[in-house]
Amino acid sequence: MKNQLGKIKENIIEMLLFLSAIFSIIITGSIVFILFYESIGFFKEVSIIEFLTGKEWTPLFANPKFGVLPLIAGTFLTTGIAISIALPLGLIAAIYLSEYATHRVREILKPVLEVLAAIPTVVYGYFALLFLTPLLQKFIPQISSFNALSPGIIMGIMIIPYVTSVSEDSMRAVPMHIREGSYAMGATRFQTAIKVIIPAAFSGIGAGFTLGISRAIGETMVVAIAAGMMPNFTLNPLEPVQTFTSYIVQVSLGDVPHGTLEYKTIFAAGVTLFLITLIFNIIGFWLKKRIIIRGVY
């Protein structure tokens, strides 16, 4: 009798665990479904060719144009600036924390760095607009008050803790006897970090990079505030641009009636963004599988 009760309890627990595991899958599935479902309506009225090759994005104008290239350019530009700051600085900080810092320094620095991740993104946005842009204007007079550079840099700083934290964890997880093997060969700390620890921790560092890049692509508030909301087909960081995310914000905030073509554009933009991140993640996954030497700890 007691045994049977235990069995039932065991089954209920298993069921609950299964439900919580499947829950996130259901949610993700529904989001993807809605995105695709709503954008089908959009692509009934606008051809995919026009969407993918058009260089003008003016869905809210009287004579609307639905070329997505300006949004792609804007997203890639701000993301590119952000990751060219976040990846190197994040990795260097991780190397320092994992291989150089004493226990005490690390105990102080790591939480401080993580505070960077706790600042609301809207604060970062205003920081870019009201502090960094005027500062940049002193050095580059031709820069617009809304531009891709300033929010790009700020996003980069914002992402550093993500890159650092994940990379550092994986570097510290490299066993001590591997490190000692390198030192015993006469390697310096730097040689050990670059030639032994980074290759050994590569999968974790790759995960940190992937996380950082995804954060940059998906970041909304900073670019919405400081990049100008101007769909501009350019790769010039001094000009205003608009990203997928900030376009979606713009439409969601306005009074575009439900069910209209303008309304459906945000789903088309959403789907494109989703596919870009998906492709990017697949490439990352594939690279990881190819580069990693098997049997890493």
């Binding site: 015993a184 006469g186 049997g295």
Partner: protein, 256 residues
């Protein structure tokens, strides 16, 4: 014994982890191109002693050496704070208890020591890789897959790779820290043969838990107990007519 050349000499070596004294006033000669074994029960300080020779303790905080380890022929004290530990490690190699190949190819594992010494020329590296793999009796096993990951090798092969890696930079002394404790008996036999072969070129100090291993391969043996070297002498003497009661008890398996 009197005719041997000294490669190193340990004089009054004390070692502390923080405030705990682990090695107490140790003296030991290390003879050139001989195998010196350190035996003793677990926790007696053998590994700590061995790791003084390549300054591994410098990697951790609050460690302190006292006394000297003189390296010949230059007559320098390698545990002196004035001597750069990296310079010491350039001359004294080490093979660890657990095989620890780097997450790289077999080839790159051996090239590592050369590369960090600034040697870039492919022909030189190729030559050293082949030579040391032959010296480590691994060449025939791996010649066709030099560029495959070192992790794909078996435990015994990995350990021989680590020996080859250490040999690649021509060390004057090679330290072995229980090199066969994580390896099966057949691979152990191969590594023991290899060490006997290697002493033609390099001075060897080995820490071992296995007293039979010391008896088989070592020319000299030191017995350590509670952080002190109790007895040192030619291996035959230590194993047949030990002068200290504790050595005798340990060797006959009465404690340890």
């Amino acid at each position: 014994m009197v005719t041997e050349n000294l490669k190193a000499k340990v004089n009054n070596l004390n070692f502390y982890y923080g405030n705990t004294q682990v090695l107490k006033n140790n003296n030991l000669p290390i003879f050139e191109k001989k195998i010196t074994a350190l035996i003793g029960p677990s926790g007696c300080g053998k590994t700590t002693f061995l790791r003084c020779f390549n300054r591994m303790h410098d990697l951790y905080h609050n460690n302190r050496y006292e006394g000297e380890i003189i390296l010949y022929p230059d007559n320098i004290n390698i545990i002196s704070p004035l001597i750069d530990p990296i310079e010491v490690r350039m001359r004294i190699g080490m093979v660890f208890q657990k095989p620890n190949p780097f997450p790289k190819s077999i080839y790159e594992n051996i090239a590592f020591g050369l590369r960090i010494r600034g040697i870039k020329k492919k022909s030189i590296i190729d030559e050293v890789v082949e030579k040391t793999l032959k010296d480590a009796a691994l060449w025939d096993d791996v010649r066709d897959r030099l560029h495959s990951p070192a992790f794909n090798l078996s435990g015994g092969q990995q350990q021989r790779l680590c020996i080859a890696r250490a040999l690649a930079t021509n060390p004057e002394i090679l330290l072995f820290d229980e090199p066969t404790s994580a390896i099966d008996p057949i691979a152990t036999g191969k590594i023991e043969e290899l060490m006997v072969e290697l002493k033609k070129k390099v001075t060897i100090i080995i820490v071992t838990h296995n007293i039979h291993q010391a008896a088989r391969i070592a020319d000299y043996t030191a017995f350590m107990y509670l952080g002190e070297i109790i007895e040192f002498g030619p291996t035959e003497k230590i194993f047949t007519v030990p002068s200290d009661k504790r050595t005798e008890l340990y060797i006959s398996g009465k404690f340890g």
